[in-house]
Amino acid sequence: MEVVVLAKWVPTTQEEELKIIDEGRSVDLEEVPFRMNEWDTYAIEEAVRIVKEHGGVGWVISMGSEDADTALRRGIAMGLERGVLLETEEDLIDPFQRAFIFKNLLQKKGIKFDLLLTGGQAEDDEFASTGGVLAGLLEVPYASMVIGIEEISGGEITLLRELEGGLMERVKMALPAVVSIQTGINEPRYVSVTGVLSAAKKERDFLSAADFMEGAKGLLQLIRVEIPPPKEGAEIIGGDLDGKVSGILNILKEKGVYK
């Protein structure tokens, strides 16, 4: 089994107050910490387990600035063998273009896969599209939001897709295939900082994304970013800790859910 994972190095914005710069054209990420995209951590874990069970080679491929090498090192520290970074300083946000560059890489470098995994979405652009577009470009089967891989045998994969409201569907696909992984599919192993550091000794390929742009047109243009206009919003209960606590308890009493 050749298993390839596409992993992205992303800004961690859940707890950051973001500022708009560049006359409304970009978000200031200078002070924001980066990490492996959460979904991709699950995809890598799944790949490591598949390679362990079925043999073969696991790859982690990323695209971004040289910092994204940390994504490769994390992937290797978790148990994958090969790492490839497509270096670019450009902020390539169009998922069609990103997928096309990955397609060019796989084809030009002769990287063959039985299974290509991506995270269900990237935390930064939330497009949830690169894997699906890539599958379409390569004309191989695709399934998204996969919450369980039940069996891989005889050139087929049986998996569970997560639907809405607690419902799942069981799907069977022919390999090679592209699968996007939902969080919660497994428990990603812990990797120590030293583990990530020592993975730096492993050989990785550093290529320039510019060499794989043939036909990879950007079809989408991000012309402006803005802080979403505030909705009505919450009435803020301020004061000291005691004031906040009694404020909440008063509302609960008023609504009759706490007496």
């Binding site: 914005t13 859940q14 707890e15 107050e17 973001l18 708009i20 978000v27 169009d94 998922p95 069609f96 997928a99 935390e123 652009d125 939330e126 497009f127 949830a128 599209s129 690169t130 699906g132 577009v133 379409g136 089967p141 695709y142 399934a143 939001m145 049986t158 997560e162 639907l163 809405e164 409201g165 607690g166 799942m168 569907e169 069981r170 799907v171 069977k172 696909m173 969080t183 428990e187 079809l219 989408l220 243009q221 991000l222 012309i223 402006r224 979403p228 919003g233 919450a234 009435e235 800790l241 906040k244 606590v245 009694s246 909440i248 509302i251 609960l252 609504k255 009759g256 859910v257 706490y258």
Partner: protein, 315 residues
């Protein structure tokens, strides 16, 4: 004139509410709307769109990107090429839209939550960076794209009544490389969070499993039930049956008391109809404060500790 093709989702034969947003977006953009569906009866769509195109496929065969692309090729031959292919942003839309975009070589915009038209042309808006930023996107090569549309964001254009034609899509040979086998229902758990009057709900901010008992105690002292957002269930700190959101449960308690939940739209969709929403988060820019009735900017652990102390004293 061109049109938009809306590929609609049904589940167990039921037409899904999320299909209306792509339909209304199509009306707002000003394109005739054709809706493509699996076998079934769709009388409810009479008057709301220009064409209902029923494909000779069962639901399980239809909800499959590999069959959809074959269906599209035949549909284009029969009805012409659309300017926009729109789907609901859901487990079906996100399965089909990117694949279709890749096969057709068209641009894709997912999770569209706004649209405007101005000097810069047609602008589609989607959220970025944990929903803290709106990105304004323009199609570089004019109106031809695949999009998924967020549920509940586009209003019905007033008094659009159309003469709806019902047609049949051409038949296709199914792609043997992906097969639907069956639906699997979630196992029933001991607690039904949809029945609670008060939900004390914890999110990513809870940080580790060892902190869960603190909030269990808080919920117990208040006479409420403990629920959670996705990251907590993903890590199995609480059972999946306690998860609020599109992939979990939709709840409408009298009070939804959210602690350390940032407010991703998948979560909001599962709790927005609660009578009162109280949100506690240490990040004042957390999106949940846009949806809550009351907000408290505070560390959830510190607040819970203090609250428990007060409640114990009162007993």
């Amino acid at each position: 004139m061109s049109y938009s093709l809306i590929i609609a989702e049904t589940r167990k034969g039921e037409f899904q509410e999320g299909n209306f947003d792509p339909l209304y977006l199509s009306d707002i953009v000003g394109l005739p709307s054709y809706i493509l569906l699996p076998e079934g009866e769709y009388g409810i769509l009479r008057g709301s769109c220009d064409k209902v195109i029923v494909a000779p496929l069962k639901e399980g065969e239809f909800l499959n990107p590999l069959n959809i692309i074959r269906l599209l090729e035949r549909t284009f031959q029969a009805f012409g090429e659309p300017s926009a292919i729109l789907l609901p942003h859901c487990s079906f839309g996100i399965d089909v839209a990117p694949y279709v975009a890749g096969r057709l070589g068209w641009p894709i915009i997912t999770d569209i939550s706004g649209f405007c038209r101005g000097e810069e042309g047609e602008i589609f808006i989607k959220t970025l960076y944990s929903e803290k930023i709106n990105g304004h996107f323009r199609l570089k090569e004019g109106m031809r794209f695949v999009g998924t549309v967020r549920k509940g964001v586009f209003p019905k254009v007033a008094e659009v009544v159309k003469e709806t034609l019902f047609e049949e899509a051409p038949s296709i040979e199914k792609d043997p490389r992906r097969d639907f086998i069956e639906y699997i229902e979630e196992e029933i758990e001991d607690v039904d969070i949809t029945k609670a009057d008060l939900l004390v709900s914890v999110g990513r901010g809870v940080k580790e499993k060892g902190n869960i008992p603190l909030f269990e105690e808080l919920a117990a002292l208040l006479g409420g039930v403990l629920s959670c957002s996705r990251p907590v269930a993903d890590r199995a700190w609480l059972p999946k049956a306690r998860q609020v959101g599109t992939s979990g449960k939709t709840v409408r308690p009298k009070v939804y008391f959210a602690l350390g939940i940032s407010g991703a739209f998948q979560h909001i969709a599962g709790m927005k109809d609660s009578d009162v929403i109280i949100a506690v988060n240490k990040d004042p820019s957390a999106p949940i404060f846009q949806y809550a009735h009351y907000g408290v900017v505070e560390d959830m652990h510190r607040l819970a500790q203090k609250m428990i102390e007060n409640l114990r004293d009162q007993k």
